[in-house]
């Protein structure tokens, strides 16, 4: 399983576009927002948590179709399915690799982008915590969507339509956590809900993804 993780990471880095592309996309979103809403600092500070979360969501979505599509095309997915490790484990590792290549860089870069958007200093820490807790759920749910559409020729748009509604609870609690953190309110409830959703997603959704892949490779 560790070999699989390393292989996926190596592929992402060497094939190009894996690591930096999500981050660059995130930067573009953050850059375009002030053009759209105007450069006033207080407005940007108000909407910064939402913008950062939306950017993370879209950056995550961009790279989803690559999770299984390449392996499906060159046949290595068939080998992974017949390999002596459980498919649920393979799917979880794939999600982990996706998170390390797209989610983790966003978490690390979030403070910088937060400064660009005038995010309140006391909210910076909460932004990192929220993204750290929330983005794994995005990757795991994304693998589910990718698993559903792996056999399709043009699954890209369909994938977004399928996956985005699943992101709603994570987005709500993640953005709420940062907003409350920025205003110095009690953050316990959204924090626990966000962590709970992520934990349950990581525990349960790989079974659904593995089932979808088995169906698609039948």
């Amino acid at each position: 399983m560790i070999a699989l993780l390393l292989r996926d990471l190596r592929l992402a880095v060497r094939a190009g576009g894996g690591f930096g592309l999500g981050l660059a996309f995130f930067l573009i979103v953050v850059t375009l927002v002030p053009f759209g809403v105007g450069p006033q600092g207080e407005i940007l500070a108000r909407i910064a948590p939402g913008i950062l979360w939306l950017g993370a969501l879209l950056a995550c979505l961009l790279s989803l179709d690559r999770i299984f599509a390449l392996d499906y095309e060159d046949g290595s997915l068939d080998l992974l399915v017949t390999a002596p490790i459980p498919l649920e484990g393979v799917v979880s590792i794939k999600a982990l690799a996706h998170w390390i290549t797209t989610g983790l860089p966003l978490v690390v870069a979030a403070p910088v982008f937060g400064i660009l958007l005038h995010l309140a200093p006391e909210a910076q820490l909460w932004m990192i915590v929220a993204l750290l807790l929330g983005t794994p759920a995005l990757s795991v749910l994304g693998t589910f969507g990718a698993a559903l559409t792996v056999g399709l020729k043009r699954g890209g748009l369909l994938l977004s339509l399928l996956v985005l509604p699943f992101y709603v609870p994570t987005l709500i609690f993640g953005a709420e956590l940062v907003r409350r953190g920025a205003e110095g309110m009690n953050t316990q409830v959204p924090l626990l809900m966000l962590a709970g959703i992520t934990a349950a997603t990581i525990a349960l959704v790989p079974f659904a993804s593995a089932a979808a892949i088995r169906v698609n490779l039948r």
Binding site: F144, L148, T149, G151, L152, G155, L158, L161, L162, L164, P165, F166, V168, P169, I172, F173, E176, V189, P190, M193, I197, V205, A208, A211, A212, V215, N216, R218
Partner: protein
Amino acid sequence: MSIWEYANPVKFMKTSDKVLPWTIGLAAVTLITGLIWGYFFVPSAENFGGSVKVIYVHVPAAMMAINIWVMMLVTSLIWLIRRHHVSALAAKAAAPIGAVMTLIALITGAVWGQPMWGTWWEWDPRLTSFLILFLFYLGYIALWASVENPDTAADLTGVLCLVGAVFALLSRYAANFWNQGLHQGATLSMDQEQHIADVYWFPLLMCMAGFVLFFVALVLIRTRTEVRARRLGALQQRERMA
């Protein structure tokens, strides 16, 4: 005599052929009676004015929007566990009806909200979760449409329906947390005393029965169409093989 007999397409077609005209007739009678009763023979409520009459479409449509997903959930489970094709086809047949019901609930809600709240749309938890439910319906229908092999499509949409049910529910409560709503509380609930007077209640009940029957009739028609389409496909394939 067991309910699983109807999993046999031949038996299903034969029985539904007999049941269908009655369902259509009954649906037409209850729906027309309920709506006419509600629209012309019920006094206007004091603080709602005439706009209260939207309730006779709005509430049944909203109820159906949620319950159709539950019905799809059950039929998907039956398909995934017992592999009865009719069950999967019934889920496929129900999805567009559910999407339309959600849309009706949203549009009538907007029409009702305009005079009552002074706005067509408000990011209220109930409204928002219905919009999300509508997106789930769209995704479900799109997945059915884009997978070619019918059995694969049935399996994939079945899994999507199960996971989607969990997340639709989760979104509902997340939305509750996210914003306090304008929408009034539940009009109908089993455990509390009645929230509305009998004058409004009985025609509403009639309309709800009408919507349920109408839905059953539509699902039967659409499932029969799907079964026939499946047979046609099988025949064409056999011809090509020969």
